[in-house]
């Protein structure tokens, strides 16, 4: 059998408590400012992380967070509860981020899930086994920066799926709801994102492993 991988663990218990969420929604709809602040405390970190991963700029990510909550509280009556509150907030965040990306690079932001860049990633080219590196080589600031950079360079159609499913810990169904995709499309994009990252990281870790072998 396959070795078990750790699950993403960013979800707090309150986010999974439906009864709490219902009460919170009722209070927000009734104009309770404390409830709005509670909602911000609960969801702003996740919203910020998605915004940051999408646009890559902390200041712009902050603007998107503000835009998201403004928009959410303004239109809270239209929220029908078919998804969880967090999924709905992620959806607003994603749309806000996408709008900004399209304004900046209208010709480069594609909604086509079968772009050339992704297709290329489905065939592994890097076939050096860098798992032999000592564990401390994976934990350096340089290695983490490389990983962060690789995530930020994920093709846009794969990035939001990857962030929500793999980093924020949403289920496949929740990710599909948040991004208005089919479940099978989420699975395909996640698989491509993983292969893309493996390929991208292999360049860095292969070089590291070969340098380390040459020194021996």
């Amino acid at each position: 059998m396959t070795k078990e991988l750790p699950a993403p663990t960013l979800l707090s218990p309150e986010l999974l408590d439906e009864a709490y969420e219902q009460r919170l929604l009722e209070r927000i709809r009734a104009g309770d400012k404390t409830a709005c602040a509670e909602c911000i405390d609960l969801h702003s970190a996740g919203v910020y992380r998605l915004a940051l991963r999408m646009v890559g700029d902390p200041h712009e990510a902050e603007d998107i967070v503000q835009e998201t909550f403004l928009n959410a509280f303004r239109t809270i009556d239209s929220f029908e509860g078919r998804s969880s509150l967090s999924t709905w907030l992620y959806r607003i965040t994603y749309n806000a981020a996408l709008m900004r990306l399209r304004k900046k690079q209208p010709l480069h932001v594609s909604i086509d899930p079968h772009g050339d860049e992704e297709e290329a990633a489905t065939t592994p080219v890097q076939l050096f086994d860098w798992c032999c590196l000592p564990e401390e080589d994976f934990q350096t600031a340089e290695a983490r920066n490389e990983l962060e950079r690789a995530i930020s360079e994920l093709p846009e159609p794969l990035r939001a799926v990857f962030v929500l499913r793999e980093l924020e810990g949403l289920s496949t169904e929740e990710t599909a709801q948040a991004l208005d995709l089919s479940v099978s499309n989420v699975k395909v994009r996640l698989h491509r994102a993983r292969l893309w990252l493996r390929e991208r990281l292999s360049g860095y870790f292969t070089e590291l492993a070969q340098r380390s072998q040459a020194r021996k």
């Binding site: 405390d41 902050e62 798992c131």
Partner: protein, 84 residues
């Protein structure tokens, strides 16, 4: 190194890799994959490095929002003022 995985059986395996690593592949498929891995070094490397990649990003510390973000939000949404 750098010779793309192109064999038909390897490509078939590649499609199911995420399900396999997530523990969502059926037992028969797992057996088939493991049999293939035992005889295919390239695919073994892809599986091991893919598993390591997943492990690395799942243990990456999440970026922390700026400390000022809460105050900025409460102010922008006028939640820091008492109700009239």
């Amino acid at each position: 190194m750098d010779a793309a995985v192109s064999h038909h059986a390897c490509k078939e395996l590649l499609v199911s890799l995420s399900d396999y690593l997530d523990g969502e592949a059926a037992e028969a498929l797992c057996t088939e994959i493991e049999r293939h891995l035992a005889g295919c070094e390239d695919c073994r490397v892809v599986v091991d490095t893919l598993r390591k990649t997943i492990l690395l990003y799942r243990t990456l510390p999440p970026p922390a929002p700026p400390q000022t973000i809460r105050a900025r939000l409460l102010h922008a949404l006028e939640l820091d003022k008492d109700a009239p």
